[in-house]
């Protein structure tokens, strides 16, 4: 068949009629437009658009580099555009910059180098956010395939960051263990912590829903005064000599065994299932650190469908405990805090308890909404647990996820008369607690 094709061809022919000889050229300014049309109604928005250009560039750079960083941490597939931009010709070694990622949301810049060859992956990252906010970390990972794959990881880490301490106990101002200085009214101190750490872990999937991880680490901490703390320096709020771990550097080894049973189909979409994680560990002081302690904890969560399988109610309970061996008190940085609590609570003690109730439901493909109530407290022993010291947080948010994993979440939590804005982007941590990285 050789028929002509409709009036579209006739229109196309007008180019030959009214135009001039045809030409072919690379695709740049095909229209030959030297100046765009200007309309007074659009001039204001055009000016505003220009003024917002730096903000758009910042969003672009931040999210692009952050997503790339998170993707590469978890050994996910490196998309070709990233590989082309950043990686060597054979795609084995890549270096790329990061922003607002390495040391948190404070202004910081960093860089990562990733090596990925077959089943071996290595990342090296550095971040600088100021004199007291910088880090360097190296991770190596080998994945061994087989009937039940297992992963061997070794890491080296250095960080210098600002921290805070409000004393031990559920009511620190009344707890006799806290050596507050009597000549000042403040009850919360700021400090700078330098940490060096080496971790080796071996994780294995024992069965379809069961994972086991054995890990060992060596960590050295040093506490210094923060020059930005003003009146809230550690030495002005507390008698540093009476706070274990505040005066001299601490060095310890930590060995842990973690077991996780997770029957959910995936960690992205709201799906029913059960989760139980437990760990037991031993921390041994080395060099001048006198005290040893054990750790034990668990998290139990149930993901219960409410009428629909995409509406999930999940009660959760997380208990985290450190058990001193002997009479020496645990260091204040080894004490447990309710890390899963989404409100404001800086209390620490031997045992932390966080109970939550989340309701999560799918609202669109890849998007879920969440309402939650958290409660937390700390206690020196289970016998001393006082539910009257519970603190609460309520809130809600929106999660973004793929079909297999969570991508990011935004939430607002109301707690202690204030609102806390929570934003996380990128892949969630592999397990709860993650004591080795505290």
């Amino acid at each position: 068949m050789n028929g002509r094709v409709g009036s579209a061809f006739a229109l196309w022919a007008t180019l030959f009629a009214v135009g001039s000889p045809v030409r072919a050229e690379p695709a740049a300014n095909l229209a030959g437009k030297e100046r765009t049309a200007a309309d007074p109604k659009q001039q204001t928005t055009a000016a505003l658009d220009t003024a917002l250009y730096p903000a758009r560039a910042l969003v672009d750079l931040t999210i692009a580099t952050t997503s790339n960083a998170q993707t590469l941490i978890e050994d996910q597939q490196v998309v070709p555009r990233t590989r082309n931009l950043l990686f060597s010709r054979r795609g084995e070694i890549g270096v790329f910059p990061t922003a607002f990622f390495e040391t948190g949301l404070n202004p910081n810049v960093g860089a990562r180098m990733v090596v990925s060859v077959d089943r071996f992956a290595s990342t090296l990252r550095v971040g600088y956010g100021g004199q007291d906010k910088n880090l360097a970390e190296s991770r190596l990972r080998w994945v061994f395939r087989g009937d039940t794959p297992f992963v061997l990881t070794t890491e080296g880490y250095y960080e210098r960051a600002v921290g805070g301490f409000a004393g031990f106990g559920p009511q620190p101002e009344r707890d006799p263990r806290n050596a507050f200085r009597v000549d000042q009214p403040l009850r919360s101190a700021s400090f700078v912590e330098s940490r060096q750490r080496a971790i080796t872990s071996l994780g294995r999937r024992l069965a379809a829903n069961v994972e086991a991880i054995v890990s060992t680490s060596v960590q050295i901490r040093r506490i210094e005064e923060s020059p930005e703390a003003g009146a809230a320096t550690f030495g002005r709020v507390f008698d540093r000599r009476r706070v274990s771990g505040a005066l001299t550097p601490t060095a310890r080894t930590y060995n842990e065994l973690t077991l996780r049973v997770d029957t959910r189909e995936n960690r992205g979409t709201p799906v029913p299932g059960q989760l139980l994680e437990g760990y037991v560990g031993i921390s041994h002081g080395i060099r001048y650190t006198p005290n040893d302690h054990g750790t034990v904890g668990f998290r139990a969560a149930s993901f219960l469908p409410v009428v629909r399988p995409t509406n999930i109610l999940s009660p959760r309970l997380a208990v985290d405990a450190v058990v001193p061996f002997g009479e020496a008190p645990i260091g204040f940085r080894e004490a447990r805090a309710g890390n899963e609590f989404r409100g404001f609570d800086g209390r620490v003690d031997n045992i932390s308890v966080v109970a939550s109730l989340d309701y999560r439901w799918a609202i669109a493909r890849y998007v879920a909404a969440r309402l939650f109530v958290d409660s937390t407290t700390v206690t020196p022993t289970l016998k001393d647990l006082d539910l009257r010291t519970l603190r609460y947080a309520v809130g809600g948010g929106i999660d973004l996820h793929t079909s297999t994993t969570e991508v990011g979440r935004i939430a607002v939590a109301l707690s202690e008369g204030s609102a806390r804005f929570l934003f996380s982007y990128g892949l969630p941590p592999a397990g709860f607690g993650d004591r080795q990285h505290r």
Binding site: M1, R4, V5, G6, L11, T14, A17, V18, G19, S20, P21, V22, R23, A24, E25, P26, A27, A28, L30, A31, G32, K33, E34, T36, A37, A38, D39, P40, Q42, A46, L48, D49, L52, R56, D60, A64, S67, T71, Q76, Q77, R81, R83, N84, G91, R308, T310, N311, W361, I363, A364, Y366, V367, A369, L400, S403, T405, V407, G408, Y425, L427
Partner: protein
């Protein structure tokens, strides 16, 4: 102090000089580009596979934030020439003969597969369902075979054949799809010659797997009456080169030196929204696009395809049989806000069973969404569909309707055994096309330049020409403007008499030393079109010629 006042005054004058009136665009007076030279040799790019994690975060996080910080209107398409048309390129291949649409060509590896066919181990990459086969024919051409569901003979194979040709008729590259009749014995299980010999045990295992797949393939589809041994199958020729993965829907490919325009600023990709709506293309997304490297490695370039047309014509959204309706089942309600507010208890939409009067037709009706098709994941170019883009897409769709034999030939490629189904499909496509075309022809002033004769301009109103608006309802407001938007003559209005508009440019305006802009806005029943048409004119002694046309909103 004096300098500061001078600068402020200059700024105020500059703003004031243009701040109160419209100022037309300025174009270089060059021949219009009709073909883009984006076929320069490049190395074979890396394969770009779909990464759900990065894509979801990009689509739902980065782009909305980016767009929220962009108050200006999205930019006009960047792949258009001075006449607001899209030149021929690796992205756009408008057919000039019907044979190009129907793939009746004599290319070395063109046409349906040639026996004998040999089954390959590779799984098909284009089909929407699992269970397809990949074969290589006697010439070494590779085809992906798909069959229909037993309950719906001719549905998906017909959709693939018709949809691919229709989209090709609109200028978008699609794979060649052929309807063939095959029996299991037509496909050999042996390995293609030249392949390395595997280990014996491995070879036996692969042979068993191939045989199993072959049996499952032919068992799964409907059998052709009256010959129960043969099956109707669609054979998609893929790929005529190296498939390097999906076409990114945002930005451009960094490893393609020919790719100079951000994909979300390409009119051809923006127009897919309307092409897909016209064809009831269900399930379109970035995974239904492909880049193919053609030519010898190192000497070739990329061309860009849309694939997966077996889901067009409503074939991808068939509900048959109708599942029992449970309002609070696992299916979510359609409205995101409803789901949010009702905490996930918004009643699920009641499904509607697909008609069974014509088994070879899917969920396709006479009403198309003129604003474009829905996609499961936002598709970058669709977000930026402008009035000019929609108008261009409408012209392409309108081109398929005339002559009538074009669309008939396209539909006949589906080889529907039921004549009534074929006629029904033809009618539905025409109705859907007119709906979309009618909508977008009224979003602009649909004026095109037909020709110039000395100082006379001959223009055509596409809406009147196509029968989408009666001439008596159309009034034009016209003005000749200079480059700064100042009127060169008093504006005037003109009642349309027919689809042709003949204007004699006043002698006072004809001046070879300057250019002018004919600024036209159509009004229909007193309502002005949202966009006007600017025809950019250059003059020579005793004559005028048009060198650019725009259709812009105001």
């Amino acid at each position: 102090m004096t300098n500061r006042i001078s600068c402020s005054l200059a700024l105020a004058l500059a703003l004031g000089s243009t701040g109160c009136r419209y100022r037309p665009a300025r174009f270089a007076d060059h021949p219009a580009v009709v073909k883009v030279g984006d076929d320069l040799p490049i190395p074979v790019p890396d394969r770009n596979d779909f990464d759900e994690l990065l894509h979801v975060s990009d689509v739902y996080l980065r782009r909305p934030l980016f767009d929220a910080l962009s108050p200006a209107e999205p930019p006009e398409a960047a792949d258009v020439n001075a006449f607001d048309e899209v030149p021929v390129s690796s992205w756009y291949a408008p057919p000039r003969q019907l044979s190009e649409i129907l793939a009746d060509h004599d290319a070395p590896l063109g046409g349906p597969p040639v026996a004998p066919l040999v089954l390959l181990d590779d799984a098909p990459t284009l089909g929407s369902s699992s269970g397809g086969l990949t074969v290589v024919d006697a010439r070494g051409a590779r085809y992906e075979l798909e069959h229909d569901d037993a309950r719906r003979p001719e549905l998906r194979t017909g959709a693939a054949a018709v949809g691919s040709r229709a989209l090709r008729g609109l200028g978008i590259r699609t794979p060649d799809v052929w309807i063939v009749e095959l029996a299991p014995g037509d496909i050999e299980l042996s390995r293609p010659s030249g392949a390395p010999e595997p280990l014996a045990e491995d070879a036996r295992a692969r042979a068993r797997a191939r045989e199993k797949r072959l049996v499952a393939f032919f068992d799964g589809g409907p059998k052709l009456p009256p010959n129960q041994g043969r099956h109707r199958v669609s054979a998609t020729r893929w790929a005529a080169g190296i498939d390097v993965g999906i076409t990114p829907d945002f930005g451009s490919r960094g490893d393609d030196a020919n790719d100079l325009i951000a994909h979300n600023d390409r009119r051809t990709l923006r127009a897919l929204s309307l092409f897909g709506s016209f064809l009831a293309f269900d399930g379109f997304g970035v995974r239904r696009t492909r880049d193919v490297y053609v030519g010898e490695p190192g000497k070739g370039h990329l061309v860009h395809y849309v694939v997966g047309l077996d889901r067009s014509l409503g074939a991808g959204s068939v509900v048959d049989p109708l599942p029992p309706y449970r309002p609070l089942s696992g299916r979510r309600g359609e409205s995101t806000w409803q789901n949010l507010v009702l905490l996930g208890f918004a009643p699920a939409p009641r499904p509607k069973a697909t008609q069974r009067r014509y088994l070879s037709l899917g969920t396709i009706g006479p009403l198309a969404n003129p604003l474009g098709m829905d996609t499961a994941l936002p598709y970058g170019p669709f977000v930026r569909l402008s009035r000019a883009d929609g108008y261009w897409a409408a012209k392409r769709i309108a081109g398929l309707l005339s002559p009538a034999s074009t669309l008939e030939a396209i539909v006949d490629a589906g080889q529907f055994g039921d004549r009534a189904a074929r006629d029904e499909l033809l009618l539905l496509l025409r109705l859907r096309a007119r709906q979309i075309v009618g909508h977008w022809f009224h979003q602009v002033t649909p004026i095109e330049v037909l020709t110039t004769e000395d100082t006379r301009l001959v223009l055509r109103d596409e809406a009147i020409f196509g029968g989408y608006a009666p001439a008596e309802e159309i009034v034009y407001e016209l003005a000749y403007l200079d480059g700064e938007g100042r009127a060169l003559a008093p504006p005037w209005t003109l009642q349309a008499q027919s689809h042709t508009l003949v204007l004699d440019v006043p002698k006072t305006i004809v001046d070879p030393k300057r250019s002018a802009v004919l600024h036209i806005r159509a009004s229909r029943r007193g309502h002005p079109a949202p966009a006007f048409c600017d025809v950019h004119l250059a003059f020579y002694v005793g004559g005028v010629r048009a060198y650019a046309v725009t259709h812009l909103p105001r």
